[in-house]
């Protein structure tokens, strides 16, 4: 069994394979941030930080912190050569205007229609949507990268029960168990982690899965 860290790395590594040379991508906080560690060496992907730049670089070490540069989580960050800073209107113009090739983010729930809920649990946790609603509405491709269940409870459902972040926005769901494509017919399992059987993946999913005829091994 993978520990939590290995599981997140496994999901992030697979997610990175979705990114193409020249893509502009926004990564959410947490697991999605790890995707940048696994981008292939032979392609260039630019990352956007929605607080106001493209060309997001790695976290600086303690001695090289620039107090003027933080990422969308408010943590010390860096910008790569060729990057550019701008204001929030420009930043969200990039997101809403269809200039972002992909966004990778986590979710509380995703459903068979591509609906996503990831910004509040009424009465319990109300952090707010930040830029998430804009990202899932505006990015050309929306990838949810998350653990398949929350302590055994289903997160992938026939229909979300939490307040939605967006309707019909999700294209792809990548978990430690497999890769699921949102299709008009429902969720199509296209890749499976060989550590699991199709039955196990179905049991961990709250929606009926369609199984791809050419189901591949997830590596």
């Amino acid at each position: 069994m993978m520990d939590k860290n290995q599981m997140q790395d496994f999901i992030a590594r697979r997610t990175a394979k979705e990114l193409k040379d020249g893509d502009l991508v926004n990564l959410g906080i947490g697991l999605p941030t790890k995707v940048s560690n696994f981008v292939a060496d032979d392609i260039q992907v630019l990352f956007q930080s929605e607080n106001g730049f493209v060309g997001l670089g790695p976290a600086p070490d303690e001695n090289n912190i620039d107090p003027y540069i933080v990422n969308a989580g408010g943590l010390p960050s860096s910008i790569i050569p060729g990057g550019a800073f701008f204001d929030s209107s420009m930043s969200f113009g990039i997101i809403r205007g269809g200039h972002l090739d992909a966004t990778v983010l986590g979710a509380l729930q995703v459903d068979a229609k591509g609906n996503i809920a990831n910004y509040m649990i009424p009465g319990k946790m109300v952090p707010g949507m930040g830029g998430a609603m804009d990202l899932v509405s505006g990015a050309k491709k929306v990838i949810v990268a998350m653990e398949h269940t929350a302590k055994g409870n289903h997160k992938i459902l026939e229909e979300c029960t939490l307040p939605l972040t967006a309707v019909g926005a999700v294209d792809l769901i990548i978990t430690e168990m497999g890769v699921l494509e949102v299709t008009p017919e429902g969720l199509l399992l296209t890749e499976i982690n060989p550590d699991y059987t199709v039955e196990e993946v179905q049991a961990a999913t709250g929606a009926k899965l369609l199984i791809a005829e050419d189901l591949k091994e997830m590596v």
Partner: protein, 219 residues
């Protein structure tokens, strides 16, 4: 036309019951000196328009802890537990707005526009109670403009006419907030003579700025 005032004079511009805009993203690019002055002044029943509510000990979060807001309009409150407490207890009204919508509402407020049309939030709680408009067969939410009595914005450097420039990711909401309030106060790390800043580099034209206050450098 001397725009430079003391912190005490600046703080006195904000009256009980006012709506204020405060620049910054998770307190990066927030005029901390002005915030500290407002905490000290105890001015109350304010409405806050800000991307987020910072942290309990940083940015506008300090004013939340000091219970100076009756209403908060923000995209994210998750980094300040006190905002959540006041929301849950009903002490403070919190309106959560997608970040891209918030900045465009502010931009509209400063540019004389009647609002903006956006697809962000369609099919979610965000659209509740709002008009929808169909343009060329696509549905949009009408989001109305936002303005404030006073905008408190940060700049890295400002000249004595109020022309302002920014380092790194500190542009964020500061640029357009400076266009959308009756009184605009810039808290700047460095105040220089007119002509010292390159006209090509100016991000806030001084015409928007009413007052300038000296701030400590970011840490």
């Amino acid at each position: 036309m001397n725009k430079i005032i003391t912190l005490e004079e600046a703080v006195a511009k904000v009256k009980d019951g006012d709506t204020i805009m405060v620049g910054g993203f998770l307190a990066n690019g927030t005029p901390e000196g002005l915030i500290d002055g407002l905490v000290e002044s105890g001015v109350k029943d304010l409405t806050l328009i800000c991307n987020d509510t910072g942290f309990v000990d940083k940015g506008v979060g300090k004013m939340v802890v000091n219970k100076q807001f009756k209403k908060i309009i923000a995209s994210h409150i998750g980094t300040n537990r006190e905002t959540g407490n006041q929301l849950n207890s009903g002490e403070t009204e919190v309106v959560l707005v997608p970040q891209g919508t918030l900045i465009e509402q502010i931009r509209a407020g400063g540019a004389g526009l009647g609002g903006v049309l956006t697809q962000t939030g369609l099919g979610t709680k965000v659209e509740e109670g709002k008009d929808k408009v169909t343009v060329d067969g696509k549905e949009y939410i009408l989001e109305k403009p936002l303005r404030a009595n006073v905008a408190l914005v940060y700049a890295t450097k400002v000249d004595k006419m109020g022309n302002a420039i920014f380092n790194g990711s500190t542009h964020n909401f500061n640029i357009f907030m400076s266009t959308a309030a009756d009184i605009v106060i810039v808290g700047a790390e460095e105040i220089v003579e007119v002509g010292e800043l390159g006209p090509h580099d100016i991000r806030i034209p001084g015409i928007f700025v009413d007052y300038i206050v000296k701030e400590e450098p970011l840490k």
